[in-house]
Structure formats: C-alpha cells, structure tokens
Amino acid sequence: MIDVQSVAHLARLALTADEESAFAAQLNSVVQRFSEVEAVDTHGVVPLITPTDMTLVFREDKKQAFQSAEEAMKNAPERSGNLFRVPPVV
C-alpha cells in the first residue's frame, strides 16, 4: 500500500482528508496495473529518457539581455522593493 501521507509530505503537498483516502485506493490500482509491465524482459536495455537521438548542443557563453528586475518581479504575490517577500515561517 502507498503511504499517501508521507509521499504527499515529500512533494510538499497538503491534501484534504477526502483526497487522502481516495488517492490511496486509486494509486494502488495504478501501481497494480504497472505490475503487468514487470513481465517484459528488459535485461541490459538502456533506459530511454528522451525519445529522439540528440547530441548536446553548446552555445556561445555570452551574456544577453532578457528582462528587467522590475519585469521579473511583476507576478510576485508579495514584494519588498526588488525582493520577494514571504510571511514569517519560524
């Protein structure tokens, strides 16, 4: 059984009581479905983490203008000058 509460803690995610109980059953059946996959022989198969053959492309390491500090701050929930402000958390 998946311990939903401790996984949610790892993800820093508050769940409602309803979500917690519903997820436990639903996620267990998803994981159960995945157990079918165990039957596939993957001995020596290199995991595929991205689907096309690509080589790492380097670009020149030069600075370029992006956006101003003012623009970067535009969507801040709370700010103090050019600093992001958070409530006291200790």
């Binding site: 995610l13 508050a14 769940l15 997820f23 596939v40 993957t42 595929l48 535009k74 929930p77």
Partner: protein
C-alpha cells in the same frame, strides 16, 4: 456580403486578406462576434484577447503599405492556455496561475504573430493538461459544439471547441499523451502532434518534458500543414528542438498514394472499440487503398503496456516539473494572515495544496512515489527501459510500412460528468495515442465520419520520426474522398 467568413478555411482567409479582398479587421471582428455569442456557454476561452481587432487593423495597414504581412496574415487563432503570451494572462487551467501574466511569449506564439496570425484568446484546457475531457479546468468544463451535453475531449478541449464553434480558424494545442489528437477527434477537426523536437517548447508550461509537443488544430489538412510550417524549426532556447529543415508540407500535399504502405496493427483493433469507430477506420482504410496504397498487417505487441508506462513516465516528470510552483516568486499564495505557517514546509504545502486541483495532486503523488528512494528502479527505470523497446518496435514497423492507421480513441465523445469520478477509466481513453509520445513519432487525427448520434469520429495516422509529410498525405486523401470539411456543428444553428 453573402459569403460566410466564419466558414472560410485558413488558407482562403490568408489569401483574401493578402489580396485585399477582405480586411483582417472584418475577419477578426466576425470571429470576435462568434466568441461573444457562444463563449459564455461553450467556455472555450479562459481569457479573450481584447486587442485582437486592433492587431488586425495593424495588419491591414501593413498590407496597404505594401509590407510583407506574413504566411498567416489575418488568421484568427486560439492559443491553449499552456503557452505563454506576453501581457496576456496564462493560467494552464489552474488556480495556481489564475493571475499569472507572462513577461514573454512562447516561441510558437512569437512565430505565429510574426507571420501575421491574430491571437483571439487563451483556450480552456484540463488543469496543467492533465485530463482527457477539459473537466479538470479551474475555470469550469468546456462543452463540445457538436453536442453541448458532451465533453470536447482534452486536454486541449478549449482549442478544439474554439475551432469547431468558429471562434477561431485554427488553434494551438499541446499533446503529451493524446491531448491534441483526441479532442480533434471528438470535435471533427484535424489535429497534429509533430515529431518530438519539431516544435520548440520554450515558453510552454512544462508537464512532461520528454513527451510534450505543441501542434495545430484546424478544419482542414492543408491548414494544419500551413500552421505547422510556421511553428516548426530549431530554436536556440530549447535544446531539444531539432535542427532538421522544415519541409513545405502544405505545398507538397498529395492524395496520390501509389507505393505507400499502410500498416494496421492488430493490437489497435482487438478490444474495447465501438462498432461505429471500427466502421469509420475500415472505411478510411478502403479510401487509402483506392488511392493506391497497400494495406499491410502489423503487430506492435508492447501496445498494451503503453498506458501504464505513459502514466509512470508522465507523472514522474510532472512531479519534478511542478515542484517549481511554491508560491514564492509567482503563482498562488495561500492566506497566512489568520493562521501563520509553522515552518517553511507548511508554507509550501499550503500554497501547493490550495493552488492545485485534485487530478494534478493525484499525479504529483504518483510521480513522487515512483521516484522516491527504493522505488525508482522498479518504476521509473523499468518504464524507461520498456519505453526504449516500444520505440524500437515502431522503428522496425516503419521498415515495413510508411504510415500506421488506427482509431484515435476507442469511442466517440462521452457525456460531461460521465467519467470524471473514475480516473482510471479516463486514463484508458489514451490507449491509442500515448505510444506516439513515448516513441517520439508524429501522429495526427483526421475526421473520418460520424456516429449514429452524429458525434464526430476521427482516425489516427502515425509516421516515422520526421516523416510528417506521409501522414499528412494519407490524411489529405481521406479528407478529399469523404468531403466532410463543410459540416457545421448543429448546436450552432
């Protein structure tokens, strides 16, 4: 004017605007009127662009000054709310981003606007593109213009509904496991998921980075090809974008399929597909044959594992991608004025717990679990190994055929509310579409007919990496033979 502008396809609008037979302003005003008339009920748009008509006027000025107006001059488009639009709210269908206004545009949006397209608004979608019905949107469910009691599909359901309801002539969707092809199928549209890497992901809200691709949703194959040409190509800002040249897909369209081999994998026909869907796919197979193609039998034995692998890979990547939403620099912040957070962890947890909806939370928990210490090898690594085998199967299959023909979904659109309480059943909707994302190959959905209840049924075409032209040609042949592009959703009459 006797001609109905709303029924023109994109290619005709652009041609007439460029020839000055029609102004971009008149076109934008017409489509805006349709949004005003229907959007309150259809809910295709989360945010309408109030500057659309003004943009169109600028386009007209450019044209009368003899300037190059671009390949999409005056074409009204809807942009899924996963793509950042500078100065225009971008929510990803989530409370988390309900007030987020990007300071830059996605490369796809920049390219569309540079070629003269007019952004009509931001299309509704499942929250963070997680869903197959556009019912998980924080901004409410979207309706299918072919029957308002039914879902438009998802996650790009708003994009599909906007084009089907003539609120835009084209739309951009994103497809992580079928989210362009399935709603196109449910709404009688052409929807293309390009080869992974064809289209830049820069400025698109990340869901599962190794699966996500943006693509066009239109009423005709030619329109889809034209939009795809504009948005494709290398972008320095996305290292996974391909350096391959972008072909002139639209110009090269041909319904002469002589020499083409069409594979029909038996695993795509063996269970759960409705009689109506089967009949439509078989009719499309007959059309391809009549155009000179040869049908070949095929087997893709790993197909049955595609959905479980997909849900593992997608949720793992999502749990990592969505970790950025912590309520500090942007996005939703919970109210801590009455109840302070005991520590930093609680601060994050409450912001995230209140900002995300249940489907998103379910997937974050699954992905976090599968990536957690002690489980990584059994789940994520195993899924990625089978993923390589599945991709290899497709590479082998495309040595025997040029395109694969299959259903796009097992059934037609379902009723709003019918499946939302059963996430596992909802996931099975993606049974024919997820493989293409896992393998990175291009796929598309093209209208193939209607069910007895007059709900649209599309068929899916798949091709080898970077072979979009082949599937577009097969789709074009189906379209030319069926002549169904002029069908108008009855709810709009």
């Amino acid at each position: 004017m006797s001609e109905n502008i709303l029924e023109l396809d994109l290619a005709s609008i652009v041609e007439r605007v460029k020839r000055r037979e029609l102004t971009a302003e008149i076109v934008a005003t017409k489509f805006k009127g349709q949004i005003e008339k229907h959007n309150a009920h259809v809910n295709a748009f989360i945010t309408v662009n109030d500057n659309a008509v003004e943009r169109a006027r600028e386009m007209d000025r450019k044209i009368s000054n003899g300037e190059n107006a671009g390949r999409l001059a005056g074409a009204p488009v809807a942009i899924k709310d996963m793509l950042c639009t500078k100065g225009l709210r971008t929510t990803a269908g989530s409370k988390m981003l309900h007030n987020f206004v990007p300071t830059y545009s996605a490369t796809v949006v920049e390219r569309l606007e540079a070629e003269g397209a007019i952004v009509m608004g931001k299309a509704n979608q499942d929250e963070f593109a997680m869903g197959s019905s556009t019912e998980t949107s924080y901004f409410g469910a979207c309706r299918n213009p072919w029957n308002f009691s039914y879902v438009p599909g998802g996650s790009s359901g708003g994009s599909a509904a906007a084009v089907a309801a003539r609120m835009s002539v084209a739309a951009i969707g994103t497809d992580t496991g079928g989210s362009i092809r399935q709603p196109a199928n449910f709404c009688h549209l052409v929807g293309v998921k390009p080869t992974y890497g064809r289209v830049s992901r820069y400025g698109i809200v990340a869901f599962a980075s190794s699966l996500d691709q943006a693509g066009p949703m239109t009423r005709t194959v030619r329109d889809a090809a034209l939009v795809l040409e504009v948005i494709s190509g290398r972008d320095e800002r996305d290292t996974t974008s391909a350096t391959k040249a972008v072909p002139a897909w639209g110009q090269n369209l041909s319904s002469n399929l002589r020499g083409m081999k069409v594979g029909m994998p038996k695993e795509y026909f063996d269970r759960g597909i409705s009689d109506d869907v089967r009949a439509v796919v078989m009719r499309s197979a007959d059309i391809l044959k009549s155009q000179g193609a040869e049908l070949v039998e095929l087997s893709l034995p790993l197909t049955k594992f595609a959905v479980p692998i997909y849900y593992l890979v997608a949720t793992c990547e999502a749990s990592s991608n969505l970790a950025r939403y912590d309520g500090v620099r942007y996005g939703y912040r919970a109210d801590f004025s009455t109840q302070a957070a005991a520590d930093l962890e609680e601060f994050y947890s409450r912001n995230r717990g209140e900002g995300f909806g249940s489907e998103v939370k379910r997937r974050i928990v699954l992905g976090t679990y599968a990536l957690s210490s002690g489980y990584y090898d059994a789940y994520y690594k195993k899924a990625c190994q089978v993923r390589r085998l599945l991709r290899q199967d497709f590479i082998e299959a495309f040595k025997k055929c040029d395109v694969i023909l299959s259903p796009a979904s097992p059934t037609t659109a379902f009723k709003i509310g019918e499946r939302i309480d059963n996430p596992l059943e909802m996931y099975l909707n993606d049974i024919y579409t997820t493989s293409a994302n896992l393998a990175g190959i291009p796929g598309m959905s093209v209208p193939g007919g209607f069910s007895r209840e007059k709900l649209p049924i599309g068929v899916q075409l798949l091709a080898a990496h970077f072979e979009e032209q082949k599937m577009l040609n097969a789709a074009f042949a189906i379209e030319e033979n069926l002549k169904l592009t002029a069908e108008v959703p009855h709810e709009l009459h």
